[in-house]
């Protein structure tokens, strides 16, 4: 349905300038930039327009019913296998993503780590890694930096320039969030071991900014929508500006089925279903796909035709390939005094001394360690983990242990790299269909051994830190071949070489001159564990370049 606001309404037969598929971290930004620059824009979003008043602290609904996400219970199954030699099996969604205006930015943890200069040129510096598609980015940090700064100020970040951070043209708009006990434990432990913990940069406001209020430290943050608009989603920062421009129409509950190409090889129409099943097609001069790292490649594959038998924009064969998750490890500790890490935002301190692991270790990787409540401040999740330190997981002793587990626990979480492999990919399942009758997303994923080695390294460091922090008991885990991820990366990546990439350095398809892809699929490397700020910076940059190109009459 179309938004009943002061925004414009276009007819589907009217050729608008841009159709943007997806209103999330990338789509929301591009919609605002293009529409405020004067272009006519239609945004097609699968989910509803949820706002602050719609968000709750309902752990059952959010965490166990996946209310804010797409999943097989809503008619959107996915299949999963490790290699192409196995048959993919239907299960819980592997590639999890949001189902609302603003996409994942509505309920992310907000941990925003800029990439460093090395991240863009790492393949040149280190050399290739056998069995992977490890390559340089087609752009440098210097080229992306102004857009990182746009994210800081227009989206709204709180932080402090850290000792290892790359150069910045402007300070953070908001001071760091107040430190939590979990942050203090990490900071003191880090100091003891010769590392440096510093304030975790977050897309959450510590003070009023851009007419939005400061965070109220409500506690159920990661995975939940913000009830006061302090979390800097594109829903609250970008979409209102896009709608206020008078040039942008936001159509929610619309699922895109196909991009049509005209005889000259240009995209000219986006076909979609409304919730009642009515099919429509919006005519347009150009298309931007920002449907996330799972749906953007799927849409290209679904748009196959006689002329494009391998799917649209896929002369490289790379659409869907190089799927990267991020690695994860967790050290959980119990402490003598109340930590109360369930209050406030997820993480207030991070250690970035292990951003890049030394080559002498014999494997590639890197990332960061931050400190959090082990179960995201969630009560059911905490209670389900009762007994994890070796006690019973039901009964009187179990029940008595729960309060301590909820209030006196802390975790040090490792967020790490994934390598890009052709064999890790998104394809269309040959048999399983979704509620619309489309082939389901099939995930083939078996992580590179270096990814697991990196997770284990980070777990070792996290346990050492936990010990130095004074934990009385501890446990640790690595997320080997994670059953699911919300970081959907690499599947339509950027590059200068049309044979090994899907979009060029300006996020334009190598094959289709008026088709752009910009979201997590654009990522060339997996980031060091927190990709969203880079996705948003890429979106600001792509929009800027699209506008310049449009002004030169090139679209």
């Amino acid at each position: 349905m179309a938004e009943a606001s002061n925004s414009v309404k276009y007819s589907t037969s009217q050729e608008v300038d841009f159709v943007i598929v997806g209103s999330g971290s990338a789509g929301g930004i591009i919609a605002k930039e293009l529409s405020t620059a004067g272009y006519s824009v239609v945004v097609l979003e699968q989910g509803p327009h949820l706002k602050a008043a719609d968000f709750t602290h309902d752990e059952w609904g959010v965490k166990y019913n996946f209310d804010l996400e797409w999943d097989w219970r809503k008619g959107h199954p996915q299949t999963r296998r490790r290699t192409e030699n196995e048959e993919a099996v239907v299960g819980d969604s592997s590639l999890r993503y949001a189902h609302n205006v603003g996409g994942g930015s509505v309920h992310f943890s907000g941990n925003f780590w800029r990439l460093r200069e090395i991240d863009f040129i790492e393949a040149s510096v280190r050399g290739p890694i056998a069995g992977t598609n490890f390559v340089d980015w087609p752009i440098t940090y210097a080229e992306l930096e102004p857009y990182y700064t746009k994210v800081d100020w227009e989206i709204g970040l709180s932080g402090l320039q850290g000792p290892w951070d790359p150069p910045r043209s402007r300070d953070y708009p908001c001071a760091p969030m107040p430190v939590k006990s979990s942050g203090v434990l990490l900071e003191r432990a880090a100091k003891k071991l010769g590392y440096t913990a510093y304030p975790a940069p977050v897309a959450i406001l510590s003070e009023p900014h851009n007419d939005r209020p400061a965070c109220i430290h409500c506690g159920l943050c990661n995975g939940y929508g913000c009830e006061v608009n302090a979390k800097s989603s594109t829903m609250v920062t970008m979409i209102p500006l896009a709608l206020a421009s008078g040039n942008c129409e936001l159509r929610t509950g619309c699922t895109v089925s196909k991009i049509n190409i005209d005889e000259s090889g240009r995209a000219n129409e986006v076909v979609y279903w409304e919730q009642d099943g009515t099919e429509s097609a919006q005519r347009c001069k150009a298309v931007v796909l920002s449907a996330n790292g799972a749906e953007t490649p799927r849409l290209l594959l679904l748009s196959e035709s006689a002329r494009h038998p391998d799917g649209l924009a896929n002369s490289s064969g790379m659409v869907g390939k190089n799927l990267m998750f991020n690695g994860y490890s967790q050290a959980i500790g119990l402490f003598d005094e109340p930590v109360h890490a369930y209050k406030s935002i997820p993480a207030t301190r991070v250690v970035h001394d292990f951003w890049e692991l030394d080559e002498s270790l014999g494997f590639y990787g890197g990332g960061g360690i931050d400190s959090r409540h082990p179960f995201g401040g969630n009560l059911i999740s905490t209670a389900l983990s009762g007994g994890m330190f070796g006690g019973a997981n039901w009964g009187a002793e179990y029940k008595e242990s729960l309060q301590h587990l909820f209030t006196h626990s802390c975790s040090f979480d490792g967020h790490t790299t994934s390598l890009p492999l052709s064999t890790n990919n998104v394809t269309l399942d040959p048999t399983v269909k979704d509620v619309w009758g489309r082939p389901a997303i099939r995930v083939t994923y078996n992580e590179h051994p270096d990814d697991l080695a990196t997770m284990k390294f980070f777990l070792d460091r996290s346990l050492e830190l936990m010990d130095a922090a004074g934990a009385t008991q501890m446990e640790g885990f690595v997320d080997e071949n994670s059953p699911w991820t919300q970081h959907l990366l690499g599947t339509c990546r950027m590059g200068n070489d049309p044979e090994t990439s899907v979009v060029d350095r300006d996020n334009r398809s190598h094959d289709i001159p008026n088709l752009f892809m910009c979201d997590g699929s654009s990522m060339v490397s997996s980031s060091r564990g927190q990709p969203t700020i880079t996705i948003m910076a890429l979106a600001f940059r792509a929009a800027d370049l699209i506008i310049q190109s449009a002004r030169r009459g090139e679209i």
């Binding site: 059952w60 219970r73 939590k180 006990s181 979990s182 930590v339 209050k343 070796g390 010990d467 501890m474």
Partner: protein
């Protein structure tokens, strides 16, 4: 200080393996539709929507061993059985059959080992002994999952009566906090670190 390391899937926010061991799959519209009814049931102690009286007694008795009542409230006081009834009542016939089969098996074991055919009529030691025998079963994991969820979910779903579950965890449903948040950041501020 005890230190253990395992290589296994991390308990991320979704409560990991415990939820996976359960056969119960839920959808939001179902829960929302049922929650008002559950609220009424909770306050009136009325009959269940779907569970038989026997099931009510039996599942309650199992829940009461999982989160017992002692010097603090347990599953019984929290009304967990009404949460379970709500969940199973809404188009969960397949799962309901699994629960009923699991219960039948449990009752046979009780009869064989103690000569008593109803779980709720056994004493606590006998009940715990039987439950320890089936700890890794899908049936037990499902009841445990539902008990824990019924204990700590928002009261609108029928359980966590009067927020006794929240209290058990030391959680105040406050919705906003200010620093200092815990002991260590208060200490940090005091020391001017």
């Amino acid at each position: 200080m005890k230190q253990q390391r395992m290589s296994r899937r991390a308990f991320l926010n979704a409560g990991g393996d415990a939820a996976k061991g359960s056969c119960i799959i839920l959808t939001m519209p179902m829960i929302l539709a049922a929650c008002n009814q559950a609220n009424e049931a909770r306050t009136k102690n009325s009959d269940f929507q779907l569970l038989s009286e026997e099931e009510g007694l039996e599942y309650s008795a199992i829940s009461a061993r999982i989160i017992p009542s002692n010097d603090t409230p347990g599953a019984t006081e929290a009304g967990v059985i009404y949460f379970i009834d709500t969940v199973v009542a809404d188009n969960r016939d397949g799962e309901h059959q699994i629960l009923k089969q699991g219960l039948t098996t449990l009752q046979s074991e009780g009869a064989a080992q103690f000569g008593v055919a109803s779980f709720y009529l056994l004493n606590e030691e006998q009940q715990d002994q039987l439950l320890r025998q089936i700890e890794s079963s899908q049936f037990f994991n499902t009841i445990r999952f539902l008990t824990v969820a019924g204990m700590f979910s928002s009261p609108e779903y029928g359980g966590n009566r009067d927020k006794v579950g929240f209290e058990l965890l030391g959680f105040t449903d406050q919705h906003a906090w200010q620093p200092p948040f815990g002991f260590y950041d208060a200490d940090y501020a005091e020391k001017g670190e």
